[in-house]
């Protein structure tokens, strides 16, 4: 493999995966702490009716209409999930399960009612990207990596994820204290006069935007895995919020780069006749990190772990 090939194929894919890893690592924390780890999976399914309706309204599957429909659908989903949880008095997992299966089913019914069978309306086709699509053909040498002007020619997926990362870090920094208190002790936060609901919805909308952007760039399995595994790994290794955040972002990055290297670069280096799916390998790598962390944390068993629930981390 030549330097130029690395720059054109592997560099942009690793950059996209790494950005998605850090974004999901950061937001995944707050989901794991709120026992809503599977929010990524829920959103991945709940976007279907929004996509179908925006297709029926506009008659086309442009990138903007798809993203808009998906985002509106995701916001409806997070509101419904919270509603079912509160008024149905069920645990968050059950509430997510009810809402996303219902919305996905509505989407499928819409597709068959409006006879759009022959149009590819599955999220798999129009919303979910894949790492192998992200190639930077404009790259001509290492100097490109240092030039802002040249970096702007990176694939749109990478630029989108870069923007979302800035947004995510900004959101978490500005609302740092509020997010922390409402995650660990909502009733205290409420008593202290914090708008718990507003903060919760703001977080969920942020999660919806971030996951949908990540879906379009790197695919669903990767995002769902990266929202859960790095945060769960960090949760096994620390009880301190700040460290939880830092470790989770770091593990997200590590899983992305490690998984990509194992799936794509190592087979090439060994001159094997195949490569593995990069997204699949990243998700596997992230899962293995949880296993290793669980073994390491056995030593910490005598400490009481309040928030972590192994049932959820395994999902």
């Amino acid at each position: 493999m030549t330097a130029i090939e690395f720059l054109q194929i592997d560099f942009p894919a690793m950059l996209a995966a790494g950005l998605a890893g850090v974004i999901c690592g950061l937001l995944g924390n707050l989901l794991v702490l709120r026992r809503q780890s599977l929010m990524g999976d829920a959103i991945a399914h709940a976007v279907l009716p929004g996509i179908v309706i925006s297709f029926l309204l506009t008659g086309a599957l442009g990138a903007t209409t798809v993203l808009l429909g998906a985002t509106v659908s995701a916001i409806v989903a997070v509101v419904l999930i919270e509603g079912v949880r509160r008024f149905g008095v069920v645990e968050p997992g059950a509430s997510m399960g009810v809402v996303f299966t219902l919305m996905f089913a509505i989407g499928i019914v819409l597709v068959s009612v409006f006879g759009a069978d022959n149009v590819h309306l599955e999220p798999e086709h129009i919303l979910f990207g894949q790492l192998e699509n992200i190639v930077w053909l404009d790259a001509s040498g290492w100097s490109d990596v240092l030039s802002v002007e040249r970096l702007l020619t990176l694939p749109s997926e990478v630029l989108l994820l870069g923007g979302v990362l800035v947004m995510t870090v900004g959101f978490i920094t500005v609302l740092s204290k509020e997010l922390k208190v409402t995650s660990f002790d909502p009733s205290f936060a409420s008593a202290a006069g914090l708008p718990v609901m507003v903060i919760h919805f703001a977080l969920m909308i942020m999660v919806a935007i971030a996951t949908i952007s990540a879906f379009t760039s790197v695919g669903s399995i990767l995002v769902i895995g990266l929202l859960v595994c790095p945060a769960a790994t960090a949760r096994l290794l620390t009880d301190r919020y700040q460290w939880q955040m830092r470790l989770s972002a770091l593990f997200g990055l590590l899983a992305s780069l490690g998984g990509y290297t194992l799936g794509s670069l190592v087979p090439l280096y060994l001159q094997l006749d195949f490569s593995l799916s990069a997204s699949g390998m990243i998700a596997v790598f992230a899962g293995l990190m949880v296993v290793v962390a669980a073994l390491v944390s056995l030593r910490r068993r005598n400490q009481v772990i309040y928030e972590f629930n192994p049932d959820q981390a395994g999902q």
Binding site: M1, T2, A3, I9, D10, Q130, E132, S277, A278
Partner: protein, 322 residues
């Protein structure tokens, strides 16, 4: 890893280079055209091999290396390679030589698919006369890369086009021998639209044009009713599509006391196994025509284009029928 000290290579191959042009293609059908026109002057690599479904195929890291280092990329087009669109679009944006064979067929010769306008049925190779129309585009693309060999490519193209013309006519002859009542082809998915159009056979696919759409119960039920009502005796499976739905049809018809048999396995979206004659486009079409004609009570092809088949072998086929 292994990057330091390696200088950027020149991507564009100089036309004076004596090494064969690297042509990367998506399916075996496209590979056959590339080999037919390019001859010894090209080295053709196909990303998808036997039994691979192009509607669902996803690129791997290895495919990317091949695509990026290719002198010419040829693909079928009309969204057949649905999951590769993004990368193909990016290659085109760089003005790299990327050609969709379907682009050389005028839109009035294309069949629409589904209810929405602007979406065409991508399975154009099923009609040999339409597939033949894609040859000039390949010859021109190769000629532009190696101008001094343009005449060779043009001559190869003519010879290959003649072969396909012969194939088209003998396919017509063979399929015309099927009695009018028997001219119904029931297959796993809607890949045979152009085949039916060109050779005057009614085509019914269980799944839609893309293999990704699921056949609903209602569709199976309708088709079972059709099989029973019209007493259609034979259905076909495809090498690159699950036979689950076709089996459901047979079971459904059997429940209504109508016996349906499988007429054979057809090559629809992928060519046959490597190192067989069916691995080529011509071999695949011959296989399909022979299978369909025989199963529906017609005569198989009188002759084969297979260079390994001497005339005695093809005589054997004819004699068997006579």
């Amino acid at each position: 890893m292994l990057l330091t000290g390696v200088q950027a290579p020149v991507w564009a191959q100089s036309s004076a280079d004596s090494a064969p042009l690297t042509v990367v293609v998506t399916t075996g059908m496209v590979a056959d055209v590339a080999r037919g026109v390019g001859g010894d002057l090209v080295s053709v690599t196909s990303l998808m091999n036997a039994g691979v479904d192009p509607h669902l195929y996803k690129l791997t890291r290895r495919d990317l290396s091949r695509l990026m280092s290719a002198d010419l990329v040829l693909y079928s087009g009309l969204k057949l390679e649905g999951k590769m669109d993004a990368v193909i679009a990016r290659l085109k944006k760089q003005n790299r030589p990327v050609v969709a064979l379907a682009e050389s067929i005028s839109s009035d010769r294309l069949l629409t698919s589904g209810d929405y306008a602007g979406q065409y049925d991508p399975h154009i190779w099923m009609d040999v006369s339409r597939w033949r129309e894609t040859i000039p585009a390949v010859s021109q693309a190769l000629g532009r890369l190696l101008p001094e060999q343009a005449d060779t490519f043009a001559a190869n193209a003519e010879r290959y086009a003649d072969e396909l013309q012969t194939l088209h006519q003998s396919a017509q002859q063979s399929l015309n021998s099927i009695s009018v009542n028997n001219r119904v082809l029931v297959t796993a998915h809607d890949a045979f639209g152009y085949f039916g159009d060109a050779y005057d056979i009614e085509v019914i696919g269980v799944q839609g044009v893309s293999t990704e759409s699921e056949a609903g119960l209602k569709r199976i039920e309708t088709l079972v009713g059709l099989l029973v009502e019209r007493q259609i005796p034979t259905v076909f499976v495809e090498s690159s599509v699950s036979r689950r739905n076709v089996d459901a049809l047979i079971a459904g018809a059997a429940a209504q006391g109508h016996d349906v048999s499988i007429g054979g396995s057809l090559f629809s979206d992928a060519t046959g196994p490597a190192d067989t004659w069916e691995a080529t486009y011509r071999g695949m079409i011959e296989h399909n025509v022979n299978t369909i004609a025989t199963a529906l009570g017609g005569n198989p092809l009188a002759d084969s284009l297979n260079p390994a088949n001497n005339s005695s072998a093809s005589n054997g086929l004819v004699m068997e029928v006579n």
